[in-house]
Symmetry: D3
Subunit: 69 residues, 6 copies
């Protein structure tokens, strides 16, 4: 599958926290930055997400803002 | 200013492409990954964005999906 | 690649309209509904999108609202 | 009320799952596809959403990605 | 039509700027704040948006971040 | 920090409701309108959000739809 999303950042899952319906998944990128994703518990189950696993953060470019100091 | 957004990824602007109303800004992260943001031309002007500049990509965690191979 | 996104709707591309930086892609679903996506021109090129092609609309569940009459 | 959102997909609610603050609503489209929406519990109450009810999924075109196999 | 979106802010259109495919619509709220929406040119035409018109900004709560100084 | 987001609406926090992972924060704008944000519990803690506090709703213009009656 090829995606139109411009941002597919490879990393490693470092934490999965489940809520009642929504889970938070933390991914560490090669440069050390941490990316947090809020996804459904259902998706966590279906993808079998767990710490230590290789995974990518997928982000549509229209969802990225820019900040400068 | 402190933001609720969980993802603030520091990097360097490598390209700014303006359209009629919408611009694409490409940021290189320390690990070498490229992040693309679609923002307004107006924001590009206001932030004075140009290649070589330090900037951050700001992404709400509910806008991050996870993919596994 | 497996995605956390809960909505992957298969259909057929019926139109691609390019703007200066942003393109609109129209997809017809099996039930006849039309889905419009605003994506980058770059993604249109990379995926080689054109009318008649099979493709899917991918939508994160946190981006779906519900309306009732 | 008329909306700028390009995607208003009519269907039938097939499931409503409440979490602590966020609910998942599943809608079946005429072609048989299922659309999942993550919305607030508050919205579920206000709209009186329940299985069997006619409802629409409303999606802004900038939140739709395209995938090809 | 009733919407699950928690944020429906009534105001007055003060400017409409069309791009090649994407338009920017500026709305003034009763308290004087300005809200900018990036929507398709097609939606601008369909809703007949023009300065002076009453309109609402509709925003899903999962798309709202919070900032503090 | 300066942000590309076109919408930074100043207001006062009127309610914070925590869920298992996701919190709802309600902000009152000067004109009396209420804005609801769904953010992570983690962000609520980090920003120390509580009723009575000054805060802003930050919204990317591509996440704003327009409705007319």
């Amino acid at each position: 599958m090829k995606l139109s999303a411009r941002n597919i950042l490879r990393g490693t899952v470092v934490a999965v926290t489940r809520g009642a319906t929504t889970a938070h998944v933390r991914l560490e990128l090669p440069g050390g930055a941490i990316v947090t994703a809020s996804i459904t518990n259902e998706a966590v189950d279906e993808l079998g997400l767990a710490a230590g696993q290789a995974a990518s953060a997928v982000i549509k470019s229209s969802d990225v803002m820019i900040a400068v100091d």
